[in-house]
């Protein structure tokens, strides 16, 4: 068996383009998903009973159903109602919904771990519960789960590869294309794996650095 990377070179732009798509899909979904997660957390922590139940249901369902199934549901399933979303939108929505449920739980662990004394001090000073959350609980809570949140982002990035099955032109999809064109299977997937590994490593290191920089207290 020979190893030859040369055949891949003409496809480099395609691969890098795919990497770019993977990255921006991950970033967009993470941001949207985290916002959704925060909303879900607030609903579950202090909304009306109906909101609490809805939020819990959302979180439990998503955390117990595979991402791929959710993706298929959106991409194929909605088609039954005439809603035909393209691969990009399907991916963004599926990843956002998926991410939101996990972020909601991460946030819960973080915010719940903020010592009760801080809350009491805020209340004793006359702050409303919304003010208490926003000015006293939020930042310390985020700090505690910052590694978990960045880890979640890395996971999201790695699992964005799932979108390749609905033909979103992200990195894995590009790799599959290159594979079928060059038949250099071994080389293609090794390069692909290394690319993913490089990005996730950079993110992991960046997370540790970011944590020190962001939370100097």
């Amino acid at each position: 068996m020979t190893w030859y990377l040369g055949d891949l070179i003409p496809y480099l732009p395609l691969i890098l383009q795919g990497l770019w798509v993977s990255i921006y899909v991950s970033v967009a979904s993470f941001l949207a998903g985290s916002a959704l997660g925060l909303v879900a957390y607030r609903a579950k922590a202090g909304g009306s009973p109906a909101l609490r139940r809805m939020s819990s249901a959302y979180i439990e369902v998503i955390r117990n159903v595979p991402l791929l199934v959710v993706l298929y549901l959106i991409y194929f399933g909605l088609g039954q109602f005439g809603i035909n979303l393209d691969p990009l939108w399907s991916t963004l929505i599926a990843l956002t919904i998926n991410n939101g449920a996990y972020v909601a739980e991460i946030l819960r662990a973080g915010f719940d771990s903020v010592p009760g004394g801080l809350r009491e001090a805020a209340q004793a000073l006359g702050m409303s519960s919304r003010q208490t959350f926003r000015y006293v609980v939020f930042v310390p809570g985020i700090r505690k789960v910052f590694p978990a949140l960045t880890n979640q982002f890395i996971l999201l990035f790695l699992f964005s590869s799932v979108a390749s099955v609905i033909a979103l032109p992200e990195l894995t999809n590009a790799l599959m294309t290159v594979n079928s064109n060059t038949l250099r299977t071994f080389e293609v997937f090794t390069v692909g794996a290394l690319l993913y590994y490089a990005v996730s490593s950079v993110l992991a290191v960046g997370s540790r650095v970011g944590e020190k920089r962001l939370f100097r207290w």
Partner: protein, 255 residues
Amino acid sequence: MGDLLTYLPPLARGAWMTIILCLIVGVAGSILGFVIGLARASSIGVLRWVSAIYTNFLRGIPLLIILLFTYFALPLLIPGADFSQLMSGAIGLTLFVSAYIAEVVRGAIESVPRGQYEAAEALGLGFFNKFRYVIVPQAMRVMVPPWVGILLAMIKDSSLVSVIGFVDLTQAGKIVGTTTMQPLWAFVVVGAVYFFICYPLGRFGRWYEKRLSISLARPPDTLQILMPAVTGLLEHEPPELPESPESPRDAGGTT
């Protein structure tokens, strides 16, 4: 909706295939993961180093890439090999899962206080006895909750094996959905099946974790603080989560 009932058998077969796959991977991945975890925690530099590369790499790339690799690329390495979809899927998923389990095992072993090693040695216990009777039993209790978490995640991750054509529950759903032209119902059923398999297991895991927290009754040292973190996050990877005063629960993950 009525047609769907006639399509229950293929879905059931798919579910069955998923269960078989998960059992195989659960056992193989746990054994492999345990061994590599021991290597990760060992004092032999080379073993630690090599297993570190293994776990860090496998956890840093997508499961899908591993599966594609084992299905398309691996057979090329072994002349005359022809892996069935089940086999490549099982191999790929096993490798993936073993990396996470290895890290859990390592964390658990390392969480056993130094003093235990010293006490065991002072009592004259040799290498194997020391591990077998003192270290590993204590490590086990720390290990079990996150290990359950990983297996739970694995059940969901197994859906990716459908991508290489293996007819598991997800793939069955896709086939049924296209044939009946009712993909929504097909995937809702598929999702429900996954839910009813995973949710009870998740509840059990959390209950067990709670029981564990109570029974260990240690002062709040690293172990107790790590525990919700280790269980909690460990569907895939545990940076440390602080202890949640209410019910410590699984937090991050993707599938």
